[in-house]
């Protein structure tokens, strides 16, 4: 029910919003959360629990429990698992409770609650596993499980990220956080202060603390982010700040964690009934949202906070039927105010159980004696319509755990407290066990000054800390009941006896207990349940909480949407400088790594295969050009350039003449081939070379690393993006190139290197090529390479794509690294043993290759052909070669050569089966075989006469 306007409220009564929940229409105000608006409308059941489908309503009202989770089904697509307690309601919203069977009011699955004694902790481990029946049971489990629904219509959303920097990041803008931020800012630090709530101030906003911290912080030079939570702490104060709209990755010189404490629910039978709530929820609902759900209240308390809440209740005209205090004797505060008002106070007592009425709401409690943590005799039965609870907190140490903080357990305050913090991380406030306003404020100031001293290396004197007098956390607010329903973890519907039974079964270690019971594994990740779980385990095993220890707190503090994590992402789509030219020529593109490359050029009325064949024949008979700009293009310059290359590549380069080029193969330490390319010498101390397209980035990175380790006098430049490259090939390539350059092509030997103007562009030219005809590889600056391309195209050169190149190179038996080699291929079984030069002091992989070469090879690379009259479908790459029923090898490359009129290929095969002419059996995927014969490579122009220009 909504009460009259209050000064403290944060709703805007001028703007009302209309929304639906479970199909029913409701009104709220701007500023309401979904939960506050529903409660204002008198809705009793806001959600259903995960396992027993028990009716639930607000508990922490702070995102520390998952009682109220809804799917937002209002938009174009629905959004799953919205946390209603902390999500603002919007006009037109349509909301649906998650995981109900027939709606939140009459959830049919609530029948499961009746069977709860047959479903003890870990029940699913103990049955359902008959082999034949498990699939059926599993289907049932998969129907029952999960919370919200994914909407497949959801579009891909990737929000952009901020990169933030600051001197001091303060997490939490309550009393201690505000004090810390002010102290740091007033001493000149660049401070960022964040809070997950829509407003700063924390409990100042709903308790009776008169102070000016909020105004001062707003006036100070502090960057304040509200509606923003620190999702995770990572090495070197790298903190993920998640806003509603995006993520900021904050690098902070110092971090002050002032994240406060989670109120912990006391445990008693039916402690989860609607309208049994934590004091913070009660206060925030009243003060911030002017929502009153209780008229006749019972307070269950064990600290000052509880009494403060009770006072507020009186202020708001709520009838307090009883105050039940777990404590007795000197532990009790002065209670005159309450006694004067004739409010019954039951000290040394507990709520033994709560009862619900027809509407599932709480209608009364049984108050029992409470001695040594055990319930005694019945003292009173009291009717009420709500229970407010304040028996203790658990500090929100999540970020500090992630930062590797050592904790100690403080017995006096019955909580964990940071003991040894990383040297630029500070904590303050409730985390340090301070709960009164004064101690929190001073503690915050100390943290702020500590941050200043750290950043400025100054020695500003720290204020004197005040001793904390409050004992806010009751060590055992847990009351057993033989009939159960004593909930510890609300997310997972875990009861006290589940813990007992788990320990009885041997899960008496905090981590094992968590994994067996699933305590703290639900969406609230133990915020309201870990501490009670730990206390239960400590008591059952006769240990102290410190000895029991905590489970590892991992990111995230609150879950983070994938749209914010994904960010804009970086999945590059690379194109060469000639990309538009290919488009104009009707290229069909394919993906090569991140690169778009022309697979072939489509021709009207011509099939793909015929188009490729025509491209192949154009290279053989006239002249073709292919864009090879995706190759890695590197340069090594310096006196030690040749030495460097000799260490990386298996061949020799010191003796390579300036103006000449040589094939290069690189291996790893184990002698496995990792890359190849052509290395040209531009000058004594200057080399230019290519790498494979796929290896470009890796090779550059690895060469840079090696260069740093070896400390040779040379540098590496990566030209992969700044140069384009084309390969001009065919018997008429010399003729056509001659038309556009003054270079003396008669004085340009095979494997020679020249620099010259081609079509007015200064180019680097290597007389080599992958495709086996007379050819030139022409490299030109990326911005100008199109001029060279255009010149050749306009003069009648035929563009050819990757497919034609594959055919042409295979005819020559040229290998493709990664296709004709694999993770175990050395130069000896990749057919490039001729390139290995052992007569130099060192190259990467040399030692391994020496050993490998002294042993028989298990596999070699060989060529094979299918009979010319073979008409069937060709086998495919990676079909196996079978010999006497066993795997003897596999096809690595295969194609039908239009020039040779035959299917040719390369294969890995056992050496004893690799003699020329030997018949091999290739097995298709369907198990049938085709025979082929081992053949000499190159299949085409074995003497290499065409390429040498002799033919």
């Amino acid at each position: 029910m909504r009460i009259a306007p209050q000064a403290s409220e944060i709703i805007n009564r001028d703007k009302s919003v209309t929304f639906t929940f479970e199909g029913k229409k409701y009104n709220g105000f701007e500023g309401d959360t979904i939960t506050s608006a529903l409660l204002a409308n008198g809705v009793k059941i806001l959600g259903r629990s995960f396992k027993y489908h028990r009716p639930r309503s607000v508990s922490s009202f702070a995102n520390h429990d998952m009682n109220v989770i809804v799917d937002d089904v209002s938009g174009q697509y629905f959004i799953p698992n919205i946390r209603a307690d902390v999500t603002k309601v919007k006009d037109g919203m349509k909301l649906k409770a998650v995981n109900t069977f027939g709606g939140v009011e009459k959830d049919k699955a609530s029948i499961l609650g009746r069977f709860s004694k047959f479903l003890p902790v870990g029940f699913y481990y103990k049955a359902f596993h008959t082999k034949a029946l498990f699939p059926m049971w599993e289907k049932m489990f998969r129907t029952m499980t999960g919370l919200g629904n994914v909407d497949f219509k959801t579009p891909k959303i990737k929000t952009s990220k901020d990169y933030g920097f600051c001197d001091c990041l303060v997490v939490g803008a309550g009393v201690s956080g505000l004090s810390a931020a002010l102290a740091a800012a007033e001493n000149g630090l660049d401070v960022v202060l964040i809070d997950e709530n829509p407003q700063i101030g924390g409990s100042i906003n709903y308790t009776n603390i008169p102070n000016d911290l909020i105004e001062r912080a707003k006036a100070a030079n502090i960057r304040i982010f509200t509606d923003c939570y620190a999702a995770g702490y990572y090495a070197d104060n790298w903190v993920a700040l998640v806003h509603k709209t995006h993520m900021t990755k904050m690098r902070a010189k110092t971090l002050i964690v002032a994240s406060g404490a989670f109120e912990q629910p006391p445990v008693f039978r039916n402690n989860d009934l609607p309208n049994i709530m934590l004091a913070g929820a009660f206060l925030r609902l009243l003060k911030l949202y002017s929502v009153k759900t209780i008229n006749d209240a019972v307070f269950l308390v064990a600290n000052d906070y509880g009494y403060e809440a009770a006072k507020t209740a009186i202020d708001y005209g709520i009838n307090i039927k009883a105050i039940v205090d777990l404590r007795s004797g000197d532990e009790l505060p002065l209670l005159n105010d309450f006694i004067a008002k004739n409010i019954p106070i039951y000290s040394g007592s507990c709520i033994y159980e709560a009862e619900s009425g027809k509407d599932k709401n709480v209608i009364g409690v049984k108050i029992h004696e409470f001695n040594d943590g055990l319930a005694g005799a019945l003292k009173a039965e009291i009717a009420c319509d709500g229970v407010v609870m304040a028996t203790g907190f658990a500090p929100a140490l999540n970020l500090l755990y992630q930062a590797n903080t050592k904790m100690r357990f403080d017995d006096a305050r019955s909580q964990f407290i940071p003991d040894v913090l990383p040297n630029s991380v500070f904590s303050c406030g409730k985390l340090n066990g301070n709960y009164t306003y004064e101690t929190r404020a001073i503690d915050g100031e100390i943290a702020g000054i500590n941050a200043v001293n750290f950043v400025k290396n100054s020695k500003i004197k720290l204020p004197k800390s005040l001793p904390e007098t409050q004992k806010p956390n009751h060590p055992w607010a847990i009351v057993e009941h033989e009939k159960g329903k004593t909930f510890v973890d609300f997310d997972e519907d875990l009861q006290l006896k589940d813990f007992k039974n788990a320990v009885q079964e041997g899960f008496d270690n905090i981590e094992l207990l968590k994994r067996y019971t699933t305590n703290g594994m639900g969406p609230s990740q133990g915020k309201h349940s870990n501490m009670n779980g730990l206390r239960v385990l400590a008591r059952l095993t006769n240990k102290t909480p410190f000895e029991v220890g905590t489970t590892t707190a991992r990111p995230f503090y609150h879950p983070v949407p994938m749209k914010h994590l994904g960010g804009r992402g970086f999945s590059p789509n690379r194109v060469t400088p000639l990309h538009s030219r290919h488009g104009d020529l009707n290229a069909i593109f394919m993906l090569a790594g991140n690169w778009q490359r022309p697979e072939y050029y489509a021709r009207v009325g011509v099939t793909r295969q015929n188009a490729i064949n025509a491209e192949v024949m154009a290279v053989h008979e006239n002249v073709g050009i292919i864009d090879v700009g995706t190759l890695g293009k590197l340069e090594v310059i310096g006196p030690d350039a040749a030495e460097f290359l000799e260490r990386v590549y298996i061949s020799k380069y010191k003796g390579l003449k300036t103006g000449m080029a040589r094939y290069g193969v690189a291996c790893d330490e184990t002698g496995v081939v990792v890359d190849d390319g052509i290395i040209a010498r531009l000058a004594e101390d200057h080399f230019y070379f290519t790498t494979t397209t796929s290896g470009a980035a890796t090779i550059y990175r690895e060469l840079s690393r090696l260069n740093m380790i070896w400390g040779l006098d040379c540098g590496i430049v990566n030209h992969t993006g700044s140069f384009g490259a084309i390969n001009l090939a065919g018997p008429n390539s010399k003729k056509i190139l001659g038309k556009f350059t003054d270079l003396d092509l008669d004085d340009f030997p095979f494997m020679g290197y020249r620099e010259a103007f081609v079509a007015g562009v200064k180019c680097r030219i290597i007389r080599a090529g992958f495709v086996g005809e007379l050819g030139y590889e022409i490299h030109a600056p990326a911005l100008e390479v199109h001029k060279v391309w255009d010149a050749f195209i306009n003069d009648g050169a035929t563009p050819f794509g990757v497919e034609a190149q594959r055919v042409l190179r295979l005819q020559k038996g040229h290998i493709i690294i990664g296709q004709d080699t694999d993770g175990l291929s050395t130069p000896y079984n990749a057919g490039v043993d001729w390139a290995v030069r052992m007569d130099k002091p060192f190259f990467i992989g040399q030692r391994s290759l020496k050993i490998i070469n002294s042993k028989p090879q298990k596999q070699v690379l060989a060529g094979f052909v299918l009979p010319k009259d073979y008409e069937g479908a060709p086998p495919q790459e990676c079909h196996l070669i079978i010999h006497e029923g066993e795997i003897a090898g596999r096809i690595t490359s295969i194609t039908k050569s239009p020039k040779l009129g035959q299917i040719i290929g390369l294969c890995h095969i056992k050496p004893e089966l690799a003699q020329i002419g030997h018949e091999i059996k290739i097995r298709f995927s369907d198990g049938t075989f085709v025979a082929a014969n081992i053949a000499q490579t190159p299949f085409y122009d074995p003497e290499n006469l065409n390429q040498k220009g002799v033919a």
Partner: protein, 412 residues
């Protein structure tokens, strides 16, 4: 409801004994000491007791059982490996997996979901075919399928996948998932029942040898005399080996993973994409279990990094754009003990009586039953089981690697 659950409702006391004892102290000697109370160590203890009657065995665990990579992996079980040695080994493992729930009388949620390795490039299609052909040769159910087949089994998938259209996939019908923690518990209970002692929070401080033979183990709880020691310690392997001055080419790389909040089940299969370096399945709790490839650097810790959920989410949204609004709940890391050829190191070592079960990198979980079984055989007979001879540490010296990289990298 199964009848078996009735006893819980009908008896006053919880009718279940401890799954495993908590012995007070170590004995002064054991026939076999197993270092590491993860799945592998416990499985070995189980099979030593069950198959060889060797029960004077203790398992030493410095933390809690199943707390290492057994409890940190993403629970995928498959046998579609690339090498004949790997494929046959993991296939035997899969056979054992199918009966474990019955054997343990403990529901491991061994759930057969089918496993797709999506191919976005020619190269990936080739590797898929290679794996399929090798698998089929050894009777393993694997085949190369087209995009239509993928779409049929995962209708919500975006075949376009950003810039990486799906060309096809390697489909491995037996691919499964299981409840990882329960595997350790099941083996632990089974071993314990047969007399094996499990000592948690017991750390090995040194291993003594005499004349090249193991003679004792120093722990924080006292000294043990023994002639046989197995190290099954995954990420801690280098630390144990250092005690004996044994060299292996094992490097420790972090492997991270994350889960979403629980969602109503929508994904029935296990999907892996090598090109996007991601994989995903949906657990019986409704959480999406997601992972990616190894961190590229060596780190001996289980700390998380932010770039991991960032990169993984970005790639995942290319495959499943509709996950934009789904929230990631938790991330974690394990320490993967990687070998150069992505195959494990199993068997005897140069120290008599010291056996090694390591190098499990990112594929140890699925091998739990078979590694336990073959290591038990190896220890009992002091002779490597025939299924693991290819995984001997000698292979590095002899350049006889078992090249599993192509099938092991992202698939886990």
């Amino acid at each position: 409801m199964p009848w078996r659950l009735l006893r819980f409702g009908l008896s006053k006391k919880h009718p279940e004994p401890r799954m495993f004892d908590a012995p007070d102290a170590l004995k002064s000697s054991y026939d076999v000491v197993i270092i590491g109370g993860g799945g592998h160590g416990l499985a070995c203890a189980y099979y030593l007791a069950r198959d060889f009657g060797i029960t004077n065995v203790c398992v030493l665990e410095k933390g809690y059982i199943g707390g290492g990579n057994t409890g940190r992996n993403t629970t995928i079980i498959r046998s579609n490996y690339l090498t004949p040695e790997g494929a046959q080994f993991y296939d035997k493992s899969l056979e054992l997996w199918k009966d474990l729930s019955t054997e343990f009388d403990l529901n491991l949620f061994y759930s057969n979901r089918g496993h797709f390795t999506l191919a976005h490039t020619d190269a990936a299609m080739r590797t898929s075919r290679w794996r399929a052909e090798v698998n089929k040769h050894y009777g393993i159910d694997s085949e190369v399928v087209g995009p239509d087949f993928v779409k049929k089994h995962a209708p919500m998938i975006n075949l376009q996948c950003g810039h990486h259209p799906i060309m096809g996939a390697l489909y491995h019908a037996p691919g499964s998932v299981a409840r990882h923690d329960a595997v350790a518990w099941g083996y632990g209970r089974g071993a314990n029942m047969r007399g094996v002692e499990i000592h948690q929070r017991t750390e090995v401080l040194g291993i003594d040898t005499k004349g090249g033979k193991v003679c004792g183990v120093k722990t924080n709880k006292g000294y043990i005399e023994t002639t046989k020691v197995l190290s099954a310690t995954a990420g801690s392997t280098p630390r144990i080996l250092k005690m004996l001055d044994i060299d292996t080419p094992i490097f420790i790389h972090p492997l991270q993973a994350m889960v979403s909040e629980p969602l109503k089940p929508w994904l029935d299969t296990i999907l892996v994409s090598g090109s996007l370096h991601i994989y995903i399945s949906q657990s019986s709790r409704g959480e999406l279990v997601m992972g990616a490839s190894l961190d590229p650097y060596e780190v001996h810790s289980t700390r998380s990094t932010l770039d991991f959920p960032e990169g993984l989410s970005a790639q995942m949204l290319d495959m499943f754009p509709f996950l934009s609004e789904v929230k990631v709940m938790r991330q974690w890391a394990g320490m993967a003990d990687m070998t150069p050829d992505f195959a494990p190191i199993m068997g005897k070592t140069r120290i008599d009586g010291f056996y090694l079960d390591a190098g499990w990198g990112t594929y140890g979980f699925k091998a739990t039953p078979i590694s336990g079984k073959t290591m038990a055989y190896t220890i009992a007979n002091d002779k490597p089981h025939e299924l693991i001879t290819a995984f001997s540490s000698e292979r590095f010296k002899n350049y006889e690697l078992t090249g599993e990289k192509g099938a092991a990298s992202v698939g886990h």
